[in-house]
């Protein structure tokens, strides 16, 4: 049998790279909104996880399955409830949260079916985004927000601080925060303050139930 192609290192996003490093090898992982399966492929082949995926687009699903990944077509907002409690060690939601309508519901489901939720998202409070809005008067684009306003799948625009407020409101525990600045430099942070909200382009959170 021919070996599976795993050489996707060049295409992996920085938040995906950071997430991969956070996942304990050999654990059970569900990647919600796994797209073309690059992160899942990396986790399965380099970190030997028992990896599963859900993806909304049929094109993404077909690509994943043809690469040998266990991925089903489904919607994070309607299909997570099928999974039993504590089925996974990690449930990953990378760059998908801004497109979710029922944010609280999805976070709740992630932490019901998984021990840890790993969430990455673009920070709407990043200074470049603020300045585009403030000084150019236009909807911001950036590498982590690459869509025009009329094509964007994103319906939730929130900042790091917004997100930490929500976690506090939901009584969830933040295990780890890694922020990524405009130069792609990652920093582990204990808390989010005004400056980190300003300087962070995107962030990865590891969340558990209290």
């Amino acid at each position: 049998m021919t070996p599976t192609e795993t050489n996707n290192a060049a295409r992996i996003r920085i938040d995906q790279q950071l997430i991969a490093e956070m996942i304990t090898p050999g654990s059970r992982v569900l990647d919600v909104g796994c797209g073309d399966g690059i992160l899942l492929d990396l986790l399965v082949h380099d970190r030997q996880v028992d990896g599963r995926g859900i993806e909304l687009s049929q094109e993404g699903v077909n690509g994943c399955v043809s690469r040998g990944l266990a991925v089903v077509q489904g919607d994070a907002q309607t299909d997570l409830h099928n999974y039993p409690d504590n089925a996974f060690d990690y449930v990953i939601l990378s760059q998908t949260l801004p497109a979710i309508f029922d944010v609280k519901g999805v976070l709740g489901e992630m932490l019901r079916i998984g021990r840890c939720a790993v969430v990455s998202f673009p920070n709407f409070g990043y200074w470049r985004i603020r300045s585009v809005l403030a000084f150019r008067g236009r909807s911001p684009n950036s590498e982590s927000l690459p869509y025009t306003w009329y094509e964007s799948p994103n319906i939730r625009f929130f900042t790091l601080t917004d997100f930490t407020d929500l976690l506090a409101e939901l009584g969830l525990k933040t295990e780890r925060i890694v922020t990524i600045d405009g130069h792609g430099k990652a920093n582990t942070r204990g808390r989010i303050g005004h400056w980190s909200n300003l300087l962070t382009e995107q962030a990865v959170f590891v969340i558990t139930r209290k």
């Binding site: 049998m1 059970r28 077909n62 399955v65």
Partner: protein, 400 residues
């Protein structure tokens, strides 16, 4: 999970022996149930009886590269070679063979003619030694569970403790699901294609139309037509014609035939086959009766009707797959209205509910249910990728 719980309902009594009538076909034959008869779901005991199967490729030293292909209602074990009766290409010849998606240079492929079939496995046209006559409707009712139980005996006979894959479309998907549910430790991965965990009311209805067409043919004679060598061909042909429509789609029929006329310039104001679609269906009916036994058609359609994996679990599907170690890959086709995507999705939800490993894709095609038998590059690409990934995880050494 209950394993091999063929606790039938009621009578046991004497074992029903079956003397084969079809003994001159290529491939392998195996006598089962000679020492210990097989208990059917109906409660009856079967044995000794014969099953016929075909294999392609070479079983490797540790017997880990076997793929069991389960055939559909009117299929048989001639997956990848010319059909011995019709001379037509094997029904999965474009998928199974050297260098193909199911590569017989790497895998050992097995396909068993189902119980109640008519290509060398015990069925209604075989001889009942108690009467010296062909069984007809005296043959015991067979279920999908029984078909799979017989296949399991073949697999064990070959010394295989775990099949690398079980794969099948339509009724083959039902058998695949039955395998995964009942003998999960014997299945590394399961690929049910265009299938369902139960036969729907609509599908039972179509089958009933087909059966009534056969039974309404005077030549059927209560199933006792073998002596006169005069089978209910008209009834069986009509059953096939009706069924064939369900295997296609409205758009496929429209694309292929439209309202085109058959070898004529205008309608004839009569009941001749004016339209190409009529001529096509008549041809499908005629060619089917050459190779298929009408009573087998009754029995096998009934087996599909009775299939409902959730029935033993209070209509709850997830427990049928509790703690399953099997890696599933479900495939459905957009224009398949006989086994629509919703049926596959129901299985996916049940598998998710027990956190089983599952892949699921829906292939865009206008070919309807038959798509699983046709040239569908995206389907082949996905199947090949899934098998490669599973072989990787299984650390399967190549047989070649």
């Amino acid at each position: 999970m209950t394993t091999n719980s063929h606790d039938g309902v009621g009578h046991t009594g004497e074992s029903i022996a079956v003397e084969p009538t079809v003994t001159d076909l290529p491939g392998h034959r195996l006598v089962l149930g000679a020492d210990v008869p097989m208990r059917l779901v109906s409660g009856q005991l079967l044995g000794p009886f014969t099953v016929s199967y075909q294999t392609y490729g070479v079983l490797n030293a540790d017997k880990s590269n076997a793929i069991l292909v389960c055939h559909a209602l009117t299929g048989d074990q001639y997956v990848a070679e010319s059909h011995p009766v019709t001379g037509r290409p094997g029904w999965w010849e474009r998928l199974v063979g050297p260098g193909l998606t199911i590569n017989t240079d790497d895998y050992f492929v097995i396909c068993v003619n189902v119980l109640a079939g008519c290509m060398g496995s015990a069925g209604p046209k075989d001889i009942d030694p108690r009467t010296g006559k062909q069984f007809g409707l005296n043959f015991p009712l067979i279920t999908i569970t029984d078909m799979v139980a017989a296949q399991r005996l073949v697999v064990e006979h070959l010394g295989i403790t775990q099949l690398f894959a079980v794969i099948g479309g339509s009724m083959g998907a039902m058998q695949t699901l039955e395998w995964a549910s009942r003998y999960p430790e014997m299945v590394y991965c399961a690929i049910p294609i265009a299938g369902a965990a139960r036969h729907s009311a609509q599908n039972i209805a179509f089958h009933e139309v087909g059966r009534q067409a056969i039974m309404a043919d005077p030549k059927w004679a209560g199933g006792d037509y073998y002596d006169d060598n005069d089978a209910p061909e008209r009834g069986l042909a009509v059953a096939r014609m009706a069924a064939h429509i369900t295997y296609l789609s409205d758009s496929a029929l429209h694309t292929k035939f439209g309202r085109n006329l058959q070898d004529r310039q205008a309608i004839t104001f009569g009941f001749d086959a004016d339209f190409q679609i009529e001529s096509y269906l008549r041809h499908q009916g005629r060619s089917f009766v050459e190779r298929f036994d009408a009573n087998s058609y009754l029995y096998i359609t009934r087996a599909m009707d009775y299939f409902d994996l959730a029935a033993e679990y209070n209509d709850n599907l997830p427990p049928a797959f509790e703690d399953s170690p099997v890696r599933f890959c479900l495939i459905s086709f957009t224009s398949d209205w006989l086994f629509p995507t919703s049926e596959s999705r129901r299985i996916v939800h049940a598998l998710n509910a027990v956190a089983a490993s599952v892949s699921f894709v829906e292939i865009e095609t206008e070919s309807g249910h038959d798509a699983f038998l046709l040239e569908e590059p995206e389907f082949f690409r996905i199947l090949s990728g899934f098998l490669r990934g599973a072989a990787d995880q299984r650390k399967l050494a190549s047989a070649s």
